[in-house]
Structures are given as structure tokens and as C-alpha cells.
Symmetry: D2
Subunit: 354 residues, 4 copies
């Protein structure tokens, strides 16, 4: 039933909590004969890892991936690819203060009720550390679809938003700032905002935009595997995500058909791209673009009154090292999930015609 899996043909099944020996997974469905660039894969992990800049959590986790199978002489063999990312930072006692305490807007309460037990160490299976597994899966997937270009960036931190369409930005600037926003002026404001919020012991929400370019026509499946439905499910799986929209998104609810429709050019491209590169769930060759909404992190460095497992209201104060705003580190995660979704769809499309 795959409750820890993503994808149908290109598939990742994962495991791991932040306070065990390692997290990891199995990547299934990777065709044989693909040369893997291990250095590039590790770079993707480095883009996600804690401690990479002054505006993210200062936890130290090297996040080094170790591949265990499915590869010979640097090429995939077609066998399933097992991998682990050892946990070097297993300070379980950091979490002693929350044992038996349900933190507000965390999954502590819901997991306790669901499983009758709760792994309180670092959030157990709810830890966003899981997303490191996805970055590995996405980086492997990317090798299978080298021609497709996937770019995510931060388009909002709190009320500071990018006003323009993605086509107005120079994507080569994204990695130039710690906040991963291609408008360097606005990036500066975002960084200031995050620093100020952290000083308050508070956190702030944000928004990531993702653009997928050079997509072949025909990816995506009818009915429940529409390309955007699968992208949506993927993005909504990321911790703290509260919304997903593609193309004109929520703005299209106020539009007329005569405004929204994309008129064709003779070559099958369209003059506008309100649709966001997908029609009827299937890619039309235009750029795919979508936005992902992230709520503020629930762990605050402030006093909060909350509930414990005895049904008592207790005082708690956030400890540990947490992100004041998750979106800068979410960028490679969004890209990774998009890459796995696309790779899956490319494999499915191989089976569609005689």
C-alpha cells in the first residue's frame, strides 16, 4: 500500500527518524545504464542541510548519502538502489523536555492518538529530516530527465512577496543569497525579516515558486494522475505546506474564459500560458509553474502553555535549533519532488503507445 512511498514506476520508499542510526530508502524503477554524478547529488543534499547559512537552523548535520546497491562502476544497473544518510546528531536528550508534552500545532498529539505511542525524539517520523531522503531520490531522478530544467526559488517571506512573473527573473541569481530569492534587493529584505523574527523568538511563513522548463508534450495521466494532481500531492507532503496552485491558480477563480484561454500558435505552442503548461492533466510543452504555501514553523523560542499526556496544561519553552523560516531550505526539496514526479511520468508515458 506504500504508505512511505512516492511514485508508481519511478518510486522511492523511505524510512527513518532523526534520532536513529540513519535514515534512508529504496529507489525502484530507475532504468539501467544511467551514469550518476555523485558529487552533484551530494550538492543537492548540501543545499538542504541545516547550518548552511546564518538564517537557517544552526544544527550540524553533514547529511552524507551512502549508496548501497544498484550501481556498478558509476552506472545504474536497473536493480533497486538502496541508500542511507547516517544521523550524526542524535542528541535525544535535547528532546527530554517535550516527552509527554504535546507541542501546539505539532503532530505530537495526533501521532499519540493515531499510534497509541509516540516517538518524541526529534519528532520521530514527522521530522522534516525525512526530506533529505527525497532530495536523494530527486537527485537520482534528475539524471533520468537531464533535458528537463527544474528551478525553484523563494517568492515570499511573510508579507514580502515577489511581484513579477517568473520570466522576469534571472535564475542564476537564486543561489547568490542565503534566502534563495532571485531578486537580490528583495532577498535582502527577506533576510532582514527572518533575522528580526528570529530575534523575537518567533517564526514566519513563506512561499516557494517552481518552474519546470523544456518538458516534452504528453506527460501526465488522465483522471487521478493528472500531472498537476501528482505535483500537488507531492508538494502537500512537505512539512508545513498549506496550499498549492499552478498556472493562474486561485487568481483564475476571478477570470473569464476569454481571458484565461491560451490561444495557439501554429506550432502548437500558445501565445499566453495561463494554464501553466498543463491541459487536461497532460503537459503541453509550455513552462509548468506552480506555487507552494508554507506556514510558519510551529516551534517557537517563546513560552507557551500547552497540554501534556496527563491532560494537564503545562508551560513549555522551545529549545534546540530550529528554522525561523523554512522556505530557503525548502527550495531543493520542492525541486526534488518535482524531479521524481516528472521522472515517474516519463516512465509511464513509455508504456502508452504501441
Amino acid at each position: 500500500m506504500d504508505l512511505n512511498s512516492f511514485g508508481r514506476l519511478f518510486k522511492i520508499s523511505t524510512f527513518g527518524e532523526s534520532h536513529g542510526i540513519a535514515i534512508g530508502g529504496v529507489i525502484d524503477g530507475v532504468p539501467s545504464g544511467i551514469e550518476l554524478d555523485f558529487e552533484w547529488i551530494q550538492q543537492q543534499l548540501d543545499r538542504r542541510k541545516p547550518g548552511q547559512s546564518s538564517i537557517v537552523t544552526q544544527r550540524k548535520e553533514p547529511d552524507t548519502v551512502q549508496f548501497l546497491s544498484g550501481i556498478m562502476d558509476g552506472f545504474t544497473t536497473g536493480a533497486s538502489i538502496g541508500f542511507i544518510i547516517p544521523n550524526d546528531n542524535q542528541k535525544s536528550h535535547d528532546y527530554d523536555h517535550i516527552k509527554g508534552v504535546y507541542r501546539p500545532s505539532h503532530a505530537d498529539y495526533t501521532y499519540s492518538k493515531k499510534y497509541g505511542v509516540r516517538d518524541h525524539r526529534g519528532g520521530g517520523r514527522t521530522s522534516a529530516r525525512e526530506t533529505a531522503n527525497w532530495v536523494v531520490g530527486g537527485a537520482v531522478a534528475k539524471h533520468f530527465i537531464p533535458e528537463i530544467k527544474i528551478t525553484a526559488y523563494v517568492s515570499g517571506v511573510g508579507e514580502i512577496k515577489l511581484d513579477n512573473d517568473y520570466s522576469m527573473y534571472d535564475f542564476s541569481k537564486i543561489e547568490e543569497t542565503a534566502v534563495r530569492c532571485p531578486d537580490l534587493g528583495i532577498a535582502e529584505q527577506m533576510i532582514e525579516k527572518i533575522k528580526q523574527i528570529r530575534k523575537e523568538g518567533d517564526t514566519i511563513g513563506g512561499e516557494v515558486t517552481c518552474v519546470i522548463q523544456n518538458v516534452p508534450v504528453g506527460l501526465g495521466e488522465p483522471i487521478f494522475d493528472k500531472l498537476h494532481a501528482r505535483l500537488g500531492q507531492a508538494m502537500l507532503s512537505i512539512n508545513a505546506v498549506k496550499g498549492f496552485e499552478y498556472g493562474e491558480g486561485f487568481a483564475s477563480t476571478a477570470m473569464k474564459g476569454s481571458e484565461m484561454n491560451d490561444q495557439f500558435n501554429p506550432d502548437g505552442t500558445t501565445k499566453t500560458n495561463h494554464s501553466g503548461g498543463i491541459q487536461g492533466g497532460v503537459s503541453n510543452g509550455m513552462d509548468i509553474y506552480f506555487k507552494v504555501a508554507f506556514k510558519p514553523v510551529a516551534t517557537l523560542m517563546q513560552e507557551q502553555t500547552t497540554l501534556n499526556s496527563e491532560g494537564e496544561m503545562v508551560e513549555m519553552h522551545g529549545k534546540g535549533r530550529h528554522d525561523p523560516c523554512v522556505v530557503p531550505r525548502a527550495v531543493p526539496i520542492v525541486e526534488a519532488l518535482a524531479a521524481m514526479t516528472l521522472a515517474d511520468m516519463v516512465l509511464i508515458q513509455r508504456t502508452r503507445n504501441i
Copy 2:
């Protein structure tokens, strides 16, 4: 691989185009011993069917479901439930004018490229007639979760939006107007808007809000089957949907953690419900609420220049009977998909503890 299926344990697999003999499906995983209310099931279909009011398409499709298996003396037997909905309205020649023509912002072009062939009759497999199958599946699912209350309504047509939170509305009023909006004054404005748009030969977008009440704590699965991720995938599968958000949704991107966090009451409920009833992907017992964004229908009763399969630009004029705004008819579809998602999660939860 189930490219025409939804759900894991409570599962529907569907087939059908609007211009064949019938559409239908197989519902799998329904436990035995459930008494079905066939009249109520048919009522759900009637809420979706064309021609039900003056503001929807005037096509006549009786949409009568016929159950073929899995039921004895009115109770489910545990066997798979097959059903069909005969197509009484198979005027294929209505669509002769679009044979070989790619309508703007339809799936004509993408399907042609994907499959190398295209069923132009009524959109083939892309027809929203498919959603009648889902309404059957959802209506059966609802019997399995009678205590859970699922209510959808229209919260926006074009720029006319409901301003208030769902708790301010009297849900018993929803079915009182053709537009399925619980604020009767605003409903009137929406109806006027739709009539005016139709007169222009144009179409308009809209928004549906859904509220799920009386949900047990513990539904939803970690990682990729988070309750909201599955709801999101479901909603994004509906024709014309461009966005999904739950709880505070996109608004949460501008919020601070100290504003967003829901503080506990001693009984495990929360004082606020910014989270939208789900924490860590698992229901917390509070109301679940989400919004679905619908773009305007692509078929216009206006002249448009478009592409044909010969690569020529041609003039076309929309024909047939189409909805000027889909949201009134989308209400039972949203409810049905939510019901199937919840029923699935209830079955999964049965397997989680010793």
C-alpha cells in the same frame, strides 16, 4: 498501476466517455454488511447532473446508476461493487465540428500528442462526465462513515466571494439556491453574474469551500499520504481545478508562528483552528476545511481562432450546451471525493495498531 483509480483500500477504478454506451466503475474494499440507501445515492447524482437549473448546462442526462454486483438484499457483501451509468445522450455528431480541431485550453492537443489518437466525441476520457462515477463512489463511501459530516458550498463566483469563515453560515441554506451558496443575498449576485456571463458567450471561474466535521482523531498517514495531501490530489483531479489550500492556506505564508499556532484546551481540542483540523498530516478532531479554485470553462460561445491537426489556424465557434460556471455542479463532486478519501483513511487506520 491504477491510472484510472483512486484510493488504496477504499478504491474506485473507472471507465467511460460521454459518447459510449455507458460510463461506470468498480468499487473495491467496501466492507460487508453495510445497508445502502439507493435513493440517497441517486440524489447525489441528481445534484451533479446537467440541466438541473437555469444556470448550468441544459444538456439532458438522467444519470441513473445501476449497480451490478456486490450487494445482496440491499446490503454490501464485501465483494467488489460494479456499476454503470448509461449514456442516453450520445449525439456524437454534435462534435463533428471539432474533429481535427484543437480547442484552446482544452486537452485536445495534449491528448492527441500523448496517445497519437484522440477521441473527439465529447472530450473522450477528459469529459467531466467521469465525475458522475466519482459521485457514485463517494455516495457509497459515505455509508461507511455515517458519523462524518461533509459539506461543500460555493464560496466564490468570479470576483464575488464569501467574506466570512464557514462557521458563520447556515449550511441548511446551501441547497436553497441554484448556485449552492449559503448566503442567499450573495447567492443572488452570483446567479446574476453567471447569467450575464452566459449572455456574453463567456465563462467565469469560481471557488468551492468544503468542511468536514466530526472526524475522529488519527486519520491520515505520515509522509506521502498525509490527509491533506490526499485531499489535495483528489481535488486537483477535478476538471478545471487550479489550486487547493486548507486551514489558513496561502494566507499562512504571511503569518507568524505565534499567530498561526493553535493552543490546546485540556480536552485535546484547540482554541483556534488555523491548522484546518490536520497536524502532521493526521486529523486532530477539529473541523477540516479547505478551498478549491476552479478556472473558467474553456468552451466559449464565441468565435475563436485556433489550430487544427494539419497545423493550420482555423476559425471555430463553440457549440453544444456547456456550463458558464462549473462550481454549482462541482459541489457534490468535491463532497464525493472527500468522502472517498476519508473512507479510505478510516480503513487504513484499522490496520495501524495492535
Copy 3:
């Protein structure tokens, strides 16, 4: 979870009991652009149907398949193919005498305990009528793999067995006798045996051999989807099957490696074929052959003492029209399941290499 489904990419999901309106299913994954020979498909159903000869059940069931979707102008469109086979013979009262009675070696008792309810009419979901659905699925699958030749025949009825290897028989003779055995002399003995057994009010077991020729090298997947494991699961799904072996099968348990190993020819073929065309779960291009063991039908035209749902021992006498030996009608079923398995593997193989 697909508890009424077979296959991964080429997939059939079925429903139906013998005493409802119709049985049927959804075939998913069929590539677009395949021309279907409907007459040939119906012929396959006719080979399975009751009443076709004097040695099978004399029930009259026309078994006419009706396709509902996924086909345009005789070609597949790539959309899911829905179909039904109406039940014209719904004499439920034929089964009144077994209501509440658990027939020996039937599924009456196990289903009652499993579901807490039992559809006694014609065996409900356990009815072998379900296999008509599979014949439709297999016949559609066969169109996708026209070059692969699948031939099944009866190689045993009771103690009367074919002594020789399949290569010694002229397959064109199989359909010449009612028992579907290619050795006409032995076929005669088998028919006599079946008639005698029927006269006794008894039933008899039998064996079907299947040969798959012209298989491309490389079909079958490592680990749990080995080609023979999938064929085995398929065959063990047929009512009354108690065993499956391929290649040398159980005889290989007494062989030495030096006897069993198949030595290569320079072209990659092998000098012998003890392996049965599969090595490491993957086809090697040689003929695949396997045997399926069928136990005698449990319904006897004799008095039997048995249990009822009240826990009382009661006398019962078989009624209705049942097969004295199922193997002649099992031949097209075995072929159909083999065809679906192979079609599935061909689709999977499309995804394996860059």
C-alpha cells in the same frame, strides 16, 4: 490494494456474481492504437462457456461481452476499457436448497466466517463465472502481443495422462475434441472417463499444460515478479487449482545439476530446455511451458451429510448443472491469464532501459 485486480501495467479489475445483472471489469493500461478483433474475442468466450459440448455443464449462458469504453472505430484509444457480460441465467431459486448450508469443500463456510455474510446464489463472488471476465482481459491482452503464441491443452483427466513432451503433439488437433487434448486416442479415453464419472454423480480432477512460444528475451522482473512467480499466482487463482510447476517442475527435485543445466548454443538458445524458458525469473527466448493441477469439482450429484449455519448436520443432494471435470473449459482460462501476464511484462520491460 486491488483485491479484485490482476496485473501492474496491463491490469484488469473485475466484479460480478453469477446471479446479478452482469459481471464485468475495467482493463487499464492498454496502449492506444491497437485494432481489436471483436469476433475473435467472442470466440474465446465461447470456448469457455457452459453448454458447449456433452462433457461440460449443460447450463446455458451465452456470455456475450459488451465493450463500453476505450475504443473508437475499432481501435483502442488508450483510455480504460470497461466491459460487461450480462447474466442471462439468474435462477437464484436454483440455489435455495443451499441457503444456510455449507457444502463440503466449497467456500461457503470460509466466506460466511470471513465476511459475516454469504451470497449463496451460485457461489456469489466465488463463482467460476468470474473467469469469463479473465477471458475477455486475456483476449484483449493477446492483441498487444500478437507475435507470442500461447497454447494450452488438457494433459490429464484422472489417471489418464499424456506421456509425452508438448513438442510431440500437433496443437492444431486440440480443438478437435470436446476435451481439448491433442492426442485424439487419449482424448477419447478422457471423454469416456468423464462420462462415466458423471454417471456416478461424481467428479474427477485433471491437468492442463500450457506452452508459450516466441517469447522475446528479457520478460520478467527480479525478486517477487519473476515471470514464473507471476504465472504461478495467476494459475493458482483459478478455481480448483492445487498446484503449479514449470520446466522440469517437481521432477527437478530428483535431478542433478549436471542433468538439469541447459547448455548454450552460440546463438544464445539452449540445447535442452529443462528450465522451461525462464532463468532467474526472466525469459530466455526458449519455449515456456508449465502445468496446472486441478482438483475434482466439489459439487457432487450424490447425497452428502454436511453442516448448516445453525451448527446442525444435514443431508444435501447436489442440484443444478455442474461440470464433472473442469479442465476442458479451463484451457481458454489458462491461456487468458498467461496472455495478461505476458502483456503486463512486455509493458514493464518498456520501462527498463534508457
Copy 4:
């Protein structure tokens, strides 16, 4: 699509070759709150490992399992359980002599053609080392179904077979001899046979019988997930298996219905058990028993002429340390697959009734 997975709700997804860093997998669906006996789990691995006695391969592989997640304080948490078994014996150069050579009746040729590449080191993904992963999965599964007793034993080595029904043997004697046969006299003969065969540089086939006792009524699903069909698929997945039968198996093909039918006792048990504990694919509470046929190992310590990847016939001589007969080490593998199948069916059955 899960081409490296087994099970639906209780599910294992595996990876690994014998010459990588480690093999391992992810076990999904294990309910929370189960206390694991790690010592017992390791014992199961020890029963499978090479070098455990004089009649099996003398390779040294400690096969120590390391659990990485899903467990807290010795109890399962409901999260996916990741595990690895490090490979301590990675002498790849042992296999240099077969690089580019297709060994007779191995998967070398088929894998090369399937994937366009072949991992020749220890057979790559076709290595029976994979079965160590299954033993871990089965050992975890067994904790979930403690009341069900699963016992496998060797019932045949070459032509030496156990004559009696399983009920005539004392299962406590199985582990007393290296060959795992409960009849100590026959065990002695089997051991002699294996030693003699090894001296010849040859190998020999064999047979394993498995008995499952104390099974609740109602396990197994209709149609393609019949309990015996799933057991059959599992067993046919084991390297070198050529056949599977349950209950009377192939012998039932020569039986009459009046001989085969199992008559009821008033308590629902049956006077005989020709059916093998399963009726209509569902357990009836009687003992389940089945046989698995193993062909002789293909690697011989003899000179063989074979094919290489250049299309030339070459001489090769088996090297390395291989089993002359696999059945003694297959016993815990058969048990493990049976345990996973049963655990899966128990979870599925939880979802079947209201």
C-alpha cells in the same frame, strides 16, 4: 509498481547485491506497539546463513541485521522499519572469471539482455543473498502473528523423500540435523547424498514442506489474492524453485470429488484435510500445508562449455563456495515468506467487516 516488494499492507521493499556495502530493505505496515525479540530475529538469520554446517556452502557471512528506524525502546512505533545487513565478504575478484561469461542455467544471459548491462559480481541482484532480507521481514512479521505456528522442513533430497504425511513427524527434531529433516534416519541418508554429490562436483534438487497451524478462519482474499495464490507467488520467488502445490496438490488431479471432498464436523472443522486448510482461497482453520520444489543449483564444480558475451563458446570451471543442495538453508526462507504472507492477510482481514 513495487518490483522489489512483497505484500500489500505488511510490505517489504528490498535492495542489495552480495558485493555491495550492504543489502537491506524497508518494512512497511507493521502496527505500533509490538515488542521485537531481536535475538530471535538474529537466530532466524543464522539458520539461513552460509557456513552453518558441513553440507552447505562454506562462505563466511555473519549476516548481522541492523535496524535503523521504526523502533523505540524495543517496540515498534508504527513507522516504517529500515534495516541493513552489511556485506562482510565482498571478494568481487572471486567472480572475475565469469565476467562476460554466461553460466549455464544462471540468469547471466537473461539479465544481460534485459538490462543491457550485468552485474556479474556474485550474481548481482539475482544473488540468493537477497533472501536474507526476506528472513528479516518474516521474523518481524512473525511477531505480529504469534499464535500462528509456521514450520518448514526438508521432505526430499534427490530421490530420497519422506513418505509420510506431516502429522507423522515430530517437528522438534527438525533442527537436530544439518539437513532439517524430522526423520533422523532419512536425514542421515540425505546428508550422505549431499556429501557424495558435492564430491562429484555436482548438485542435487530437493523439496521443502511447510505446515501452518492455528490459522484463524477467514484469511485470504477472493480472486487474485487467494491465500494459496499468494503463498505460491511467494515460494516461486525463491531462487531455484520450480513448483508449488498445496493440499493434495498434483495428486488431486487423479482423485474423484467423493474422495477429495472434506466432510464437516459439527464444529466447522473437517474430518479430512485434502483441501490443505484453504477453501475458495480463504483459510478454514485446518492446517495449511504445501510443498515447494527446488531444482539443483546451477553452479557446478565441473568443467562446462558455455557462451560468452562475444558469442564464443568457452570453457569454464565453477569456483567459489556454493551449496551442493539448497533445501536445508531454504527452510527458514520458506517460513519467512509464509509469515509475511500471513501477516499481510491478517492486516487485510482487519478491513473486511463493519
